[in-house]
């Protein structure tokens, strides 16, 4: 029996909701609050209130892979240079958490904390992003920050710092429920498929598709149209994805030409496979089996056995051979 693509995708979104891992989310939030408090105690009036960003804040998080992003806005006069700001934060976090973390690593513009497994086997991951206001006392007016670029990569390959407005990035996706669903689906695909593309890129390209095209219909039809848009546009010369936090940043610059072609080809292959056999949608957009409703999983939304229930002593259809 063919898969009902709309129903399947709804189930995919449902099984990837954060509410299924509320205990874990609570652990993340508790740890985040601890770190925030430690930072505020250490830096005092040198920082403004730190705030959440990333997929939690944008409500695009999925429960199979997530971390919490915390932005720490420093005042202009707190450090002479952005590098000193970045190093100071790293040194503080290292001193404070080296004994309870698996890894504290310097990332492109943030510092990643991976805490040791707790008794439930859970690992808390936080990304702390330090930024400094452009001019003294200006942050509260314009929300703009300069970030230090630690790892020269992609659009950051020739810069030592980058200007951004994280609040503007968050606002960019506000009240866009349809877009958020597609973004979450594309993140689920991306996570399942090797995590080749940055979530921010998938987010911007989805929003742009909604702006430029008539993305309507049911959930599958919307997803299909966005995928068509990516397939058609991403490898085109002059196609841009402007960072709402800084109009000088084009996210397309983070991809090499061959990566753009690969992304376009991936979309084309996926659309072809799904349209030739609707069951293939499950290969690209899997449900999270840990939170699947047993009733639903036995019908077309799950791995339901097409040929009906297995008889006693007859191997199931998922019996593989080799």
């Amino acid at each position: 029996m063919a898969t009902n693509k709309k129903e399947h995708l709804q189930n995919v979104l449902e099984t990837h909701r954060m509410k299924h891992v509320q205990n874990l989310v609570d652990k993340f939030k508790t740890k985040r609050n601890e770190v925030k408090e430690a930072l505020e105690a250490h830096y005092g009036s040198n920082i403004y209130y730190s705030f959440d960003s990333g997929s939690f804040k944008k409500r695009t998080a999925i429960n199979t892979k997530f971390d919490l992003d915390v932005v720490v806005p420093f005042k202009k006069d707190s450090f002479e240079t952005l590098e000193k700001m970045y190093d100071s934060l790293y040194d503080f976090l290292y001193e404070e958490y080296q004994d309870v973390t698996e890894e504290i690593r310097k990332q492109t513009v943030s510092i990643g904390l991976i805490f040791e497994e707790d008794e439930d086997g859970d690992k808390i991951c936080l990304d702390i992003v330090p930024g400094r206001e452009l001019n003294q006392d200006q942050y509260s007016e314009d929300n703009k920050l300069n970030l230090f670029v630690y790892r020269k990569y992609g659009i950051f390959s020739s810069s030592t710092h980058i200007q951004t407005n994280i609040q503007a990035q968050i606002d960019h996706i506000k009240a866009k429920e349809n877009e958020r669903k597609i973004i979450r689906l594309l993140k689920i695909w991306n996570n399942n498929d090797g995590k080749e593309y940055k979530s921010f890129l998938l987010e911007l390209i989805t929003i742009k598709a909604f702006e430029k095209e008539d993305i309507s219909g049911n959930l599958w039809e919307k997803l299909e149209k966005v995928m068509e848009y990516i397939k058609d546009k991403v490898a085109e010369d002059g196609f841009k994805l402007i960072d709402p936090g800084n109009s000088n940043n084009d996210l397309m610059d983070t991809l090499e030409d061959w990566e753009k072609t690969n992304l376009s080809n991936r979309m084309e292959t996926m659309l072809e496979r799904i349209n030739s056999n609707s069951d293939n949608i499950k290969s690209y957009f899997p449900t999270n089996k840990d939170f699947e409703d047993d009733d639903k999983s036995s019908n077309s939304s799950g791995y339901g056995i097409k040929t009906g229930g297995a008889a006693y002593s007859t191997p199931p259809k998922n019996e593989r051979f080799g």
């Binding site: 791995y303 593989r320 051979f321």
Partner: protein, 549 residues
């Protein structure tokens, strides 16, 4: 007209044949002479011609026409009897074939006689295989890490590998294990550990003379006289002492390896077989009481057979890329698929393949896997390790704890630190291939954060499809393919004897066809740096089709 007249007339008509004469017919061949002359050739050249009566067909694998001129033996591609070594095209028409062959002779004259061109590759010395004491003797050598110096000598340790039949006679086959310098330093041949650990069964001696022991660089010396300028006196003394020490083995043969450079990097060894008690040397005491040792120059050298079995030559005719062959590979599950993968990778030059499986090889497994009958019941891993070593003397294979993947990982993957421990164990490899068809294991492996590549392979019943998935997109993809996309008919399975699960139906031919295509595709993905996209190979009995996802 008869064969003689036809051949004579056709040869006479070839434009650059100035004269064809003295042609006579013998029982199996005709003989004659030709004078070749053309513009670029300063003076005409005369060749004796022998044409076998099977011409224009070949006799065995050899051309049935010979062009000989014994004055030309110093030139490239001329045999000791003056025959020019030409390889020409097949043709069944006498006139066309003669034209081709004479043009090949003309091309040889231009390239090697007039222009004196050198070949890019080294042409090895011609050594006729010779029966010595009613059998042939062969010795295979491989690369060593150390270079040799001209004039150095010492002993050689040797392992006997197999007695066999060679050209209808007995042959003793050996591999060289070590060259032992005078100072005791052992230069180890770079065989796999398994071969290195084999018992030393024979001894020999070596001397490195640097230049080929050959006239014109291609005809091997025939008398000890020819070697006298190449053998240091100290070496001859060493040989005399060596004989004394081994005299209790009087009458046995001792191989003497004579080494030389074949280019800036590579060397080669020829082997002269000496009889203990009758070495071709003699010691004299001089009037000043000093002893000297000299070769018995008039004696013939009995050359044995050597082969260069270095990795480069062993896999020279076809292998995977070096970067792939050097990968540290683990194959989990070595049933039909896994054993075929392991054997194919070994034949393609891979050097490090560890294997894991907790299963036993039953007689019924043999027909569609790489296992053999005459080992009886045996752990699959033990037998496969043995089989791989019989194929390649360079393969290093370790057997991973048989319970690790299908037992231990499942028990402990939820334990604190369990996953990171498994990840560390797998990340020792560059490539892990899971052929277990164990869905539980696939589920756990899918959840690991791996730095190594992981490939999952399995097939449907009747080997209608092969499913290949790359980490981290294995579990969902494979399960969906088997459950929903592919027609995996599990109602018609084979029930073996005994009380165990029914198994799929497919022949060795069915399975290996898919496996070979999958491995070719995977190797190609690595070579081209292409994205490793999951794929299915569909076999609809007349076509194989790769469907990428």
């Amino acid at each position: 007209m008869g064969f003689l007249d036809d051949v004579t007339k056709l040869i006479s008509n070839i434009p650059f044949v100035e004269k064809a004469y003295d042609f006579v017919e013998e029982k199996l061949q005709i003989r004659g002479k030709v004078i070749i002359s053309f513009k670029e050739l300063e003076k005409p050249l005369e060749f004796e011609i022998v044409v076998f009566k099977c011409y224009p067909l070949k006799y065995n694998d050899a051309d049935s026409i010979k062009f000989k001129n014994s004055n030309l033996i110093e030139y490239r591609h001329v045999m000791e009897d003056g025959a020019i070594c030409i390889h020409t095209t097949h043709h069944t028409n006498l006139k066309s074939k003669l034209n081709y062959d004479f043009h090949s002779l003309r091309n040889w004259i231009v390239k090697y006689y007039i222009n004196k061109e050198q070949d890019d590759h080294y042409e090895h010395i011609i050594v006729d295989d010779k029966l010595i004491n009613n059998r042939y003797w062969s010795y295979q050598f491989t690369d060593l890490k150390h270079p040799f110096e001209k004039g150095e000598f010492g002993e050689v340790s040797i392992t006997s590998i197999q007695l066999g039949t060679f050209k209808s006679n007995l042959i003793s086959n050996h591999i060289i294990q070590n060259f032992i310098r005078e100072n005791g330093e052992q230069l180890e041949c770079e065989w796999s550990q398994l071969y290195k650990n084999m018992d030393i069964t024979n001894s020999g001696a070596y001397v490195y003379i640097e230049t080929p022991p050959a006239t014109y660089g291609k005809f091997i010396f025939t008398k000890w006289l020819d070697l006298q300028d190449h053998l240091p006196e100290r070496f001859l003394n060493f040989l005399l002492e060596f004989q004394k020490r081994h005299i209790k083995h009087r009458g046995k043969l001792l191989p003497l390896f004579i080494g030389y450079k074949i280019d800036d990097v590579n060397l080669h060894w020829q082997v002269a077989m000496l009889e203990i008690g009758d070495f071709p040397i003699i010691g004299y005491q001089l009037p000043n009481k000093k002893w000297i040792t000299i070769p018995k120059n008039e004696l013939d050298i009995n050359w044995g057979i050597t082969r260069n079995t270095s990795y480069k030559y062993f896999f020279g005719r076809g292998s995977f890329s070096q970067s792939f062959a050097e990968k540290k590979i683990l194959i989990i599950g070595v049933g039909a698929l896994g054993s075929m993968v392991a054997k194919t990778l070994t034949r393609c030059g891979c050097r490090f393949i560890d294997i894991a499986d907790n299963d036993i090889k039953e007689p019924e497994n043999v027909c569609r896997s790489e296992y053999i009958f005459n080992t009886g019941l045996m752990d699959k891993t033990e037998e496969l390790k043995f089989i791989l070593s019989t194929i390649s003397p360079f393969i290093e294979t370790n057997i991973v704890d048989k319970d690790y993947f299908q037992g231990i990982i499942k028990l402990f993957h939820k334990e604190k630190g369990g996953k990171s421990s498994f990840e560390a164990n797998l990340n020792k490899y560059d490539l892990v291939v899971d052929c277990t068809t164990d869905n539980d294991l696939m589920y756990i492996l899918d959840s690991l954060d791996l730095k190594c590549d992981l490939i999952n392979l399995s097939i449907t019943n009747f080997a209608k499809e092969l499913v290949c998935a790359f980490h981290p997109n294995t579990y969902n993809f494979v399960m969906n393919q088997f459950m929903n996309v592919l027609e995996n008919d599990t109602s018609d399975l084979y029930n073996p004897t005994g009380c165990w699960s029914p198994t799929f139906k497919a022949s060795y031919n069915d399975i290996s066809l898919l496996v070979q295509m999958a491995i070719k595709h995977i190797h190609n993905l690595y070579e081209t740096g292409s994205r490793k996209t999951n794929f299915i190979i569909e076999n609809d009995s007349s076509n194989l089709k790769i469907v990428e996802y």
